[in-house]
C-alpha cells in the first residue's frame, strides 16, 4: 500500500472521524497541530426530548450524516482524498452502534483511497485536544477527562503511556449534570444550563455531600450527590404542595451542586499532581467547558505552582480534530489498523 511509505512529517494531513456518542464529526488536521477543518454535526436537539442520548436514534443519525461530514471537512480544508497521509477513527469507548458507523466508513474510505488507517481511543483524543492548542505541552502530565460518559484521572508519564489513577465508581460527572438538570426541569444537555443558572446562585446555600472525601483514593462518586439533590427537590416541592420552585432556590441549588462537583474534581486532580510530582495538569471532555471548573482548577493550580491547561470550548466537545491529532501521533509511532478493526465500546487506555 502506498501509505506504508508515507512519512508522517510536519505537513502530513490526517482525516479524523468521530461517531462515539451524539456528534458526527470529521476533521482534517495538518502535522498534528493545525486544524484545517473540524465539522461537527450535533444531534443534541434530536435527543433533547428524551433527556439524554438514545443509542438507536444516534446510530441512525450517524449513518445519515457520516459521508456529508467527511465531504464537508475535505472541502473546507481544500484537501483531496489523494493528499491524505492517513485516516484516524474513534473505535472506542462509546456507544457501539455509533462507533460501528464511523469505523465501517473509515475502513471503506481508507481501502478505496489506498490511505493507511489507525484506530484512536476516544479518551486519548480528548487528551490530545490540549496539544492542538498548546503544542508546547510536554509529559509528564496529569489529565482529568470529564464528560457525559467518562470521569477519568490519568497520569501520563510519556506520550502514549497512561496510568489510570482514578475514575468514577458510578455516574460520570457530565451524567450527574444531565440528571440533576432534568429533575430541575432545565433541559438537556444539563452542563451549560446549570453553569448559566449557577451564576445567580449562592454555592453555600444548600449543604451537599462530597463523596469519598474520607477515603484515600483518586476515584470519584457522584450518585450520592445526585440523590441528595433529588431529595432536596422533593422536600421543597412537598413543602410547597407540589407548586413550582422559586427561581432563587433553583439558582442556589444549581450553584451548590456545581460547587460540590467542581470542588471534588479540582481537589483530587491537584492532589494527584502533587503526589506524582507533576507540574502540569490538562483537562478534557465536555465538562472541562464548565466555567467554575476552569476557574477553580486554575486557581488551585496557581497556589501550588502547577500550570493548568484546558481546550477551547469547541475542542471540549466530541470532535474529530482531536482524533486526527491523536491519530497523527499514533501514525508517527508506526501504529496501523487492520481491515478487521472493530468497535470496542468498553475500550480502555
Amino acid at each position: 500500500m502506498k501509505g506504508m511509505s508515507v512519512l508522517f512529517d510536519e505537513d502530513a494531513l490526517v482525516l479524523g472521524i468521530e461517531t462515539s456518542c451524539d456528534e458526527t464529526s470529521a476533521a482534517v488536521v495538518r502535522g498534528g497541530k493545525t486544524i484545517m477543518s473540524n465539522v461537527i454535526a450535533s444531534q443534541v436537539d434530536l435527543h433533547a426530548k428524551y433527556g439524554g442520548v438514545v443509542p438507536e436514534v444516534a446510530s441512525r443519525k450517524h449513518v445519515e450524516a457520516i459521508i456529508p461530514a467527511v465531504d464537508t471537512a475535505l472541502h473546507q480544508a481544500g484537501v483531496s482524498l489523494a493528499e491524505l497521509a492517513g485516516i484516524a477513527v474513534t473505535y472506542g469507548p462509546g456507544l457501539v452502534g455509533g462507533l460501528l458507523v464511523g469505523v465501517s466508513a473509515a475502513k471503506a474510505i481508507a481501502f478505496g483511497g489506498q490511505v493507511p488507517l489507525v484506530g484512536v481511543n476516544h479518551i486519548e483524543g480528548h487528551i490530545y485536544a490540549n496539544f492542538l492548542e498548546h503544542p508546547e505541552l510536554k509529559a509528564p502530565l496529569i489529565c482529568l477527562t470529564v464528560s457525559g460518559g467518562h470521569t477519568d484521572l490519568l497520569y501520563i508519564p510519556a506520550f502514549g503511556a497512561y496510568e489510570l489513577l482514578g475514575r468514577t465508581r458510578d455516574d460520570a460527572a457530565g451524567e450527574a449534570f444531565d440528571k440533576v438538570a432534568r429533575v430541575m426541569g432545565l433541559g438537556y444537555p444539563g452542563g451549560p444550563q446549570i453553569d448559566r443558572l449557577a451564576r445567580d446562585g449562592n454555592p453555600r446555600a444548600v449543604e451537599l455531600p462530597r463523596a469519598l472525601s474520607q477515603e484515600e483514593t483518586f476515584d470519584f462518586s457522584f450518585s450520592g450527590l445526585k440523590t441528595a439533590v433529588l431529595n432536596y427537590i422533593h422536600r421543597e416541592r412537598q413543602s410547597r404542595k407540589d407548586g413550582p420552585l422559586p427561581e432563587e432556590l433553583l439558582a442556589d441549588l444549581a450553584a451548590s451542586f456545581q460547587a460540590a462537583v467542581v470542588e471534588v474534581l479540582s481537589a483530587r486532580t491537584i492532589e494527584a499532581a502533587k503526589e506524582k510530582r507533576v507540574r502540569t495538569v490538562v483537562m478534557s471532555g465536555g465538562v472541562a467547558a464548565n466555567s467554575l471548573l476552569r476557574q477553580e482548577m486554575s486557581g488551585a493550580g496557581a497556589r501550588e505552582g502547577i500550570a493548568v491547561y484546558y481546550p477551547s470550548l469547541v475542542l471540549c466537545t466530541d470532535n474529530a480534530a482531536m482524533i486526527a491529532c491523536a491519530g497523527y501521533y499514533r501514525f508517527r509511532r508506526g501504529d496501523r489498523a487492520s481491515w478487521s478493526l472493530n468497535a470496542e465500546p468498553d475500550l480502555r487506555l
Partner: protein
C-alpha cells in the same frame, strides 16, 4: 461494467464481484463474528483473489435491509464510504428484493422471511415470473409483522409459495400448519442470501440509471426505533433514581 455487491443484513455476510452479469468472485460466511470484523477483510480478499483493483469498479450495490439494524448500518456505511471515495455510484437494494430475485426461476409466489426478533418477521410477498430475465414483482409493502399475518395473506392469495430466509426455520410448524403442501421450503444451502444477487440487481439499476447518492443513501429499517419505551424508562429513572 463491474459491480461490488455487499450484504450484511443477517448473520450471513457476503461480498461479490459481478462483471456484466458474470459472477467473478463471491465470499459468503455464515458465522457469529461481527460484520464489522468480517466485511472489509472479505471484500479485500475477493478483490485480491480475483485480481481486481479498486479503480476497476464501476459501482457499489448494497443490501439496505430490512434486517439487523447494526448489520445494515455497517454495510451501508461501508458501501457509501467506498462509493464516495471511488467517485462511483452506490445502489441500495432491499434485502427482501435480493432474496426474492435469487428465486427468479419460480413462477409461483415467493416469500422471503427474515427473523425480526420480538416474535416478528421482516417479509414481503412477490409474484415470480418464472423467467431469469424478469425479476419477481413485489405485491406487498416491506413488512415487520407476526408470521401469522403474512401466512394469512399467502392463504388468501392461494397457490404454491417458495419460502426462504432465516425466519423460515423458527416458524416452520406454523408455516406447515397454515400452508401445508403449498409451502415450498428452499434448502438453506440453496436459499442463503448471496451478495451476487445484490450486485446483479444493482447492475440492472445502474443500466436503468436509477442510482442512489453516496452522501445520502439510508438503510431500510421498516421499523422505527423503540424510543417511546426508552423515553418512559428514562423519565421513570429520572424521577426515582
Amino acid at each position: 461494467m463491474r459491480i461490488i455487491g455487499i450484504d450484511t443484513s443477517t448473520m450471513v455476510g457476503s461480498v461479490a464481484l459481478v462483471n456484466d452479469g458474470r459472477l467473478e468472485g463471491e465470499y459468503t460466511l455464515n458465522v457469529r463474528r461481527t460484520h464489522s470484523e468480517r466485511m472489509m477483510p472479505a471484500l479485500v480478499r475477493v478483490m485480491e483473489d480475483a485480481g481486481i483493483s479498486a479503480s476497476q469498479i464501476d459501482g457499489v450495490a448494497v443490501a439496505i435491509g430490512p434486517g439487523s439494524f447494526t448489520g445494515i448500518r455497517i454495510g451501508v456505511a461501508g458501501a457509501k464510504g467506498l462509493a464516495y471515495t471511488l467517485s462511483k455510484p452506490v445502489i441500495g437494494i432491499s434485502t427482501l428484493d435480493a432474496l426474492a430475485f435469487g428465486m427468479s426461476l419460480a413462477a409461483t409466489l415467493i416469500c422471503p422471511v427474515l427473523d425480526a426478533k420480538r416474535g416478528q418477521v421482516y417479509t414481503a410477498i412477490y409474484q415470480g415470473a418464472g423467467r431469469p430475465d424478469s425479476p419477481p414483482r413485489r405485491l406487498t409493502e416491506y413488512l415487520a409483522v407476526d408470521i401469522e399475518e403474512v401466512l394469512g395473506k399467502l392463504v388468501e392469495l392461494g397457490g404454491e409459495v417458495v419460502l426462504l430466509g432465516d425466519g423460515v426455520e423458527p416458524n416452520l410448524p406454523k408455516i406447515q400448519d397454515l400452508l401445508g403442501e403449498r409451502a415450498r421450503i428452499v434448502p438453506h444451502t440453496v436459499g442463503t442470501m448471496r451478495a451476487g444477487w445484490v450486485a446483479q440487481l444493482g447492475m440492472a439499476r445502474l443500466a436503468d440509471g436509477v442510482l442512489d447518492d453516496p452522501l445520502s443513501l439510508l438503510p431500510l429499517y421498516v421499523r422505527p426505533p423503540e424510543v417511546d419505551r426508552i423515553k418512559a424508562d428514562r423519565l421513570k429513572r429520572g424521577a426515582i433514581p
